[in-house]
């Protein structure tokens, strides 16, 4: 079983209206997440220097996972061209740790938005004072 070879091919980020999901993975650049994945693998229990083949394999698996999830979200949720958060939340509803993490991320996003809004308001006040 050869690892999916996309070595040296340039990335083609936008495949508008593509109906061939399998082709996208061939066109993407190798090592999209490589640097981040190395740190992540170390954080989760691997060696400080993971084997490059392992990193490549994990990246392939992750991309496949994300692809399948997105396709499912598109099927389930909506035929409106957009993907909504609700679709993802429905997909992972069975997986409690992931669901909790997602709600945490979303609530934190909201908090940060509020904080930034408050900052902008303060900024304006300061500017008007000067």
């Amino acid at each position: 079983m050869s690892s999916s070879g996309a070595a040296g091919q340039s990335a083609k980020p936008a495949k508008a209206g593509s109906s061939q999901p399998s082709e996208t993975s061939v066109k993407r650049k190798r090592g999209m997440f490589q640097k981040d994945l190395q740190h992540m693998m170390y954080g989760f229990g691997d060696d400080p220097n993971p084997i490059p083949e392992s990193v490549a394999l994990v990246e392939d698996i992750v991309v496949e996972y994300v692809t399948d999830m997105v396709h499912k979200a598109q099927d389930i949720g909506s035929k409106r061209g957009k993907i909504s958060i609700e679709d993802f939340l429905y997909l992972i509803r069975k997986d409690t740790p992931k669901l909790n993490r997602c709600t945490e991320l979303l609530s934190m996003q909201e908090e940060l938005k509020q904080a930034r809004k408050a900052f902008d308001v303060d900024e304006e006040k300061l500017a008007s004072l000067e």
């Binding site: 394999l57 979303l106 609530s107």
Partner: protein, 218 residues
């Protein structure tokens, strides 16, 4: 710069003080052309760049800022730059009612975490730091999502959530791979055969979504 404390301990103590008013040191945030023209860039601004790295319930404080002693601090800085630019553009696309999700700021949990963290060895601390700080790049993920869906509009929350889910999936993979290794009494770095076995087990458990049309060749 105070390097005697662990970065996370320092962050815990820092959040009890008032948020910093002074602008961050210029070397902390290298050249951010898209940031607002104001000179002051308080913690809330910077914390916005790394929402999934923040500790639970501490909105506005980025633990990595006060004492950046991480080995990956350089790459983390660059990550933060691109993340911030993305978020500024994408704020208008947020339609979901994010406000309905409650935040969890549990002082008991945080106190427990603090006691645990204070007893970490250096090795454990560095690994925990990598665990907290590592993340898949939002820009890369967005590009991937666009190429999968074919639609140009991927809202910010979707990108962030997908990055989070993917990170947890990586965690499951690696942890299962480690347990596979201990079963086989092997040690050292994780090899592809362990990852394949771990992936197979996850599939059996149903944690991996099944393709409706199976892919013939990998």
């Amino acid at each position: 710069m105070n390097q005697s404390k662990d970065p996370f301990e320092a962050a815990y103590e820092e959040q009890e003080e008032s948020p910093p008013d002074s602008p961050l040191a210029p070397d902390d945030l290298d050249g951010r052309p898209s940031s607002p023209p104001s000179a002051a860039a308080p913690a809330s601004q910077d914390a916005a760049t790394a929402p999934d790295d923040d500790e639970t319930g501490t909105a506005g404080v980025n633990p990595s800022d006060p004492s950046p002693s991480a080995p990956a601090s350089a790459s983390a800085k660059i990550k933060r730059n691109s993340k911030e630019e993305d978020e500024d553009e994408e704020e208008e696309n947020v339609e979901v009612e994010l406000a309905k999700f409650p935040s969890s700021a549990d002082p008991n949990k945080m106190a427990k975490m603090q006691t645990i963290l204070s007893q970490f060895t250096e090795d454990q601390m560095s690994r925990y730091e990598s665990f907290r700080r590592s993340a898949l790049q939002k820009a890369t993920m967005k590009r991937l999502l666009v190429s999968i869906t074919g639609s140009q509009k991927i809202s910010m929350p979707v990108t962030i959530v997908v990055c989070g889910i993917a990170k947890m999936f990586v965690g499951e993979l690696i942890e299962t791979a480690r347990s596979v290794m201990t079963e086989r009494n092997e040690s050292g770095p994780i090899r592809p055969c362990h990852i394949r076995e771990s992936y197979r087990r996850l599939k059996l458990e149903g944690k991996v979504p099944k393709r409706s049309v199976p892919r013939l060749f990998r």
